[in-house]
């Protein structure tokens, strides 16, 4: 039975990390009796283990609930969850495109954060109705009036009618549900027009092929229809449609305005990408819906299996992951030290971290990641420009006229007492001061232009520690600027290890080189022979540390019962060794390749 479009509400929740988005979603599911108490667990929409453990939302997720409003009418609510971290802005834009409204959840003990601003602007751009929801009003440090002012003055959203809630206790959530029906517009599609369905996410299921999450903009689709993927030009027979509550529930059709899933035995994962439009083969739409802005990866790193025979598995896993993570890009590369692997592009470091963990957990792979790098533009003496994302590709210095690196415009929001330390930090990281704005009486937005490469090296952690965790950061790529850069090689036992090469800012190369060799010395276990570690620029060694050879590891005493214990210990150690990569004859633990990330330039 097609549901009256007027009773459908499609919305998402925008919130900063820890401001209570997932908790509010949990309450909504409870109050609408979507999930029984028995099934209820915290952060129910965060279905990945990784999400629950870290308390963050990484992937968007959609759920359909029914709500009986006070006017006696029954409504269908489609809640499309969104991630909150700066790396995942792209995912946010995808979910917003499938909605007519958004709840703006702000923690009243903390106020609006930089990243929330960015997402709200995205929502405003998408013409969404925005309902301000002020959370955590049960806490003593809650300042709802101040936060109201902030939202009104900074974002220009009327807060006179804002909901005051505590997602934790459930206070005020019922009112939020009412307001969704009242204030968020219903979808405005034409049920009799040709089908236009926007794919906003997809995942792979070995029985049903690719399952896509779609929003029906116009028309409708049912089991047995032949659909066409408008940009791929492929046609498929629909085998199943349904909604997620959040468990999948089959329906006969998906109708105009609805959000749900669709399966059509799509076996080739390359055919589907988010932003694609589905229409009917028999009565096609004239042109596809506006898709998504393609996000360019900002950070690249090499991804290698520890055991080279796992290369095909890694390839397969990356293809499947990229199916519902369009921002992940990868292409094969070869390293002298690490063998066959992939150069992968990510939206940021958290994204990289998440992909690594998903590959290791969901696909049971044992991986080595090389230190992340940005994309450099290298101007050659012959007048051409090449783009490199792998430091070892940097041509011979004689052929290089100049190197440009990506800069970002960074906005740091913080209580004003931390302005000093923030400026010091930005200056240390080669930031160029732009502006300081007063956000309100107590908080400022500090703006700097900075090299992206400095942001990926421990900037965020330092910012948090400099400001006792109060500062939040937002940034976007602005432009490429020439910098004094050079390639630094790391030699182990006299051999250049390509996977450890990095592109560094020349004036701080010496300190960084020293810091890296010292760090590696602590990470690489002592071996059967002495191993020198050197940092070199253009063949000239600038720093060195030696790992002395190990001299004694034998247990002095080993009798009777000790033998069994010793054997088990050794076998366990042997397993541990599998997580090390033998480079030449040196055994290097995985974390060594990422060591440059956690380095302080002033570490000696």
């Amino acid at each position: 039975m097609p549901f009256d479009q007027k009773h459908i509400r499609n919305f998402s929740i925008i919130a900063h990390i820890d401001h209570g988005k997932s908790t509010l979603a949990d309450r909504i599911l409870e109050l609408t009796n979507t999930v029984s108490q028995r099934e209820m667990k915290e952060q129910i929409l965060d279905s990945m283990d990784l999400e629950r453990e870290r308390g963050i939302t990484i992937k968007l997720n959609a759920v359909t609930v029914t709500y009986k409003a006070k006017d006696g009418e029954e409504y269908i609510y489609n809640l499309i969850d969104t991630p909150g971290h700066v790396d995942f802005t792209y995912e946010v834009s995808r979910s917003l495109a499938a909605c007519e409204g958004a709840l703006l959840v702000v923690d009243t003990t903390q106020g609006v954060q930089a990243q929330t601003l960015a997402n709200v602007y995205l929502a405003v751009d998408n013409n969404l109705a925005i309902l301000p929801v002020l959370n955590k009003v049960d806490l003593p440090s809650s300042m709802p009036d101040l936060v109201k002012d902030e939202i009104e003055n900074r974002i220009g959203i009327d807060c006179s009618d804002a909901c005051l809630i505590s997602a934790k206790t459930g206070f005020g959530v019922a009112e939020v549900l009412e307001k969704i029906a009242k204030d968020i517009p219903s979808p405005s599609g034409d049920p009799s027009a040709p089908l236009e369905a926007l794919i906003f996410d997809s995942y792979y299921d070995s029985y049903r092929g690719v399952v896509v999450l779609i929003r029906i903009k116009n028309g409708s689709v049912k089991v047995g229809d032949t659909i066409r993927l408008m940009q791929a030009g492929k046609e498929y027979l629909v085998t199943e449609v349904g909604i997620r509550t959040p468990n999948e529930m089959k329906t006969l059709s998906l109708d105009c305005g609805e959000v749900g899933y669709l399966a059509a035995q799509i076996k080739d994962i390359h055919d589907v990408f988010p932003g694609e439009t589905i229409t009917l083969a028999s009565n096609p739409a004239k042109k596809p819906l506006p898709g998504y802005r393609k996000m360019n990866p900002m950070v690249y790193c090499g991804l290698y299996p520890v055991e080279s025979k796992a290369y095909p598995d890694l390839k397969d896993a990356l293809e499947k992951l990229s199916l519902n993570d369009a921002s992940l890009v990868f292409e094969p590369e070869t390293s002298k030290a690490l063998g066959f692997g992939f150069r992968c592009g990510f939206l940021g470091l958290l994204h990289m971290d998440v992909v690594e963990e998903r590959l290791e957990r969901e696909y049971n792979l044992n991986l080595i990641l090389t230190a992340p790098s940005v994309v450099y533009h290298v101007n050659l003496t012959n007048g051409t420009q090449i783009k490199i994302s792998n430091p070892s590709e940097l041509p011979d210095l004689a052929k290089v006229a100049s190197i440009e690196e990506p800069y970002v415009s960074a906005s740091i929001m913080s209580p004003k007492e931390y302005v000093g330390p923030i400026m010091t930090l930005c200056q240390d990281k080669r930031g160029i001061y732009k502006d300081i704005e007063y956000f309100d009486d107590t908080r400022v937005i500090v703006k700097y232009d900075m090299p992206l490469s400095e942001i990926i090296y421990s900037f965020f952690d330092k910012l948090k520690s400099f400001t006792k965790g109060y500062a939040s950061l937002d940034y976007e790529i602005s432009d490429y600027r020439p910098s004094e850069l050079c390639k630094m090689d790391i030699l182990l036992n006299g051999e250049v290890i390509d996977a450890l090469s990095s592109i560094v800012y020349k004036p701080s190369a010496y300190n960084r080189g020293l810091a890296i060799v010292c760090k590696l010395k602590t990470l690489i276990p002592r071996q059967q022979f002495e191993v020198p570690i050197q940092a070199a620029i253009g063949g000239k060694v600038i720093a060195r540390a030696d790992i002395k050879s190990m001299r004694k590891d034998v247990l002095a005493k080993c009798y009777g019962g000790d033998i069994s214990r010793k054997k088990k210990l050794l076998e366990k150690q042997k397993e541990g060794k599998k997580r090390m990569k033998a480079i030449g004859s040196v055994e290097v633990p995985q974390e060594a390749f990422m060591s440059v990330l956690s380095i302080d330039d002033d570490m000696k």
Binding site: Q528, K552, V554, C558, S564
Partner: protein, 365 residues
């Protein structure tokens, strides 16, 4: 597999508890001693050890000589008949427990080897370890043993103790050589959980310090005519410990008593550490059937402790495949790094390799 020809017996009683000891032990009480010996006899009977079938017996502890004379005699009498005509019969003893009477009991019961827990010559280090004797007690006890007719004597020495210096070790070596015995066991301090040292937060000396002190000991003892036949064991005049070599050759042995381990047929077992459980007659804690891979690992980790190593032919006939072929790459790299040597079909660790035995084994596992 053939039945064991060796027997280990554990006596868990002590008159003092040492700071580093993690062997099963408790303070001696007469009624406990009686209950224990009775349970121990039951366990021994359960193995149906044939008369005259054993080549070695080793009674360790704890402190076997902490037992009352009567109990000690009854134990020695119980096991003596197991031994064949040519045998090695060792009892461990602490210097302060070796009196004329005790020595006589041992000698008359057929004990022909005593291992004395001398540990150090330094009053400071002996105190630190919580030992109840002085070095002169050790000198006296060894004189008593020799006089009564037990000339095959070992002294245990512990080095790399907290605060112990290179100079301390030098003095120890001289003192131990002055005991004029033919066997020395030199162990670097191993810090185990549940000991007084670990409760005090004491850590093992850095491995470089251990290596320095070990190499000093090796050098000096070699000069004095000793051969290091196992990682921590030194002998001259042919006085290697036959019993311990059974362990290191990965040969079977019976183990009886609290917490003792044994290896019979293709089964390895370990006894309970719970004194009450043991005295109630339930001695077994766990038993492991040794699989093919396990067996190779056991073989390597024991045999490579011996300076002689093992014959590759012995390996092949026991396991049915050739180690040189199976691990050719690993053996070549170990050889290149100077950790092993293969001579006339015998694979053994070099001086450097013996100290890095864990690294060697990790390559070969």
């Amino acid at each position: 597999m053939a039945l064991p020809t060796s027997l280990y017996i554990h006596i868990p009683f002590c008159r003092h508890i040492c700071a580093y000891c993690d062997f099963p032990k408790l303070f001696y009480k007469e009624e406990w001693g009686k209950a224990y010996i009775s349970a121990l006899f039951d366990e021994l009977d359960s193995y149906n050890i044939e008369k005259g079938s054993l080549k070695t017996i080793y009674i360790g502890g704890g402190t076997p000589t902490a037992l009352d004379d009567e109990l000690l005699s009854s134990l020695l009498k119980k096991v003596r008949p197991y031994l064949s005509s040519s045998y090695e019969f060792t009892v461990e003893a602490n210097p302060e427990t070796i009196t004329q009477e005790k020595a006589k009991i041992l000698y008359t019961a057929g004990v022909n080897r005593v291992s004395v827990g001398v540990e150090s010559s330094s009053p400071r280090l002996l105190k630190l370890m919580g030992r109840a004797h002085s070095f002169s007690d050790a000198v006296t006890s060894i004189a008593i043993l020799k006089k009564i007719g037990i000339s095959n004597i070992n002294a245990d020495m512990i080095y790399a103790l907290p605060t112990e210096t290179y100079e301390d070790v030098k003095k120890d070596i001289d003192a131990f050589l002055s005991l004029d015995i033919d066997h020395l066991s030199c162990y670097s301090l191993i810090l185990e959980g549940g000991t007084i040292f670990s409760a005090k937060g004491i850590k093992e000396a850095p491995s470089d310090t251990q290596a320095d002190q070990y190499e000093l000991i090796l050098r000096c003892l070699r000069k004095a005519g000793f051969t290091r036949y196992e990682v921590s064991n030194f002998a001259r005049n042919g006085k290697e410990s036959e019993h311990n070599k059974v362990y290191w050759r990965d040969e079977p042995y019976y183990g009886a008593g609290l917490g003792a381990a044994g290896y019979i047929g293709n089964k390895r077992y370990k006894n309970t550490l719970n004194f009450n459980t043991y005295c109630k007659g339930k001695h077994l804690d766990y038993e492991e059937e040794v699989g093919a891979d396990d067996d190779v690992h056991y073989f390597l980790l024991t045999n490579l402790r011996l300076a002689q190593g093992f014959h590759l032919a012995t390996f092949k006939s026991r396991f049915g495949f050739s180690l040189e072929q199976e691990k050719s790459k690993e053996l070549a790299s170990l050889k290149k790094n100077g950790l092993i040597s293969i001579e006339e079909g015998r694979l053994y660790c070099t001086d450097k390799g013996l100290l890095l035995l864990d690294s060697v084994l990790l390559e070969l596992f």
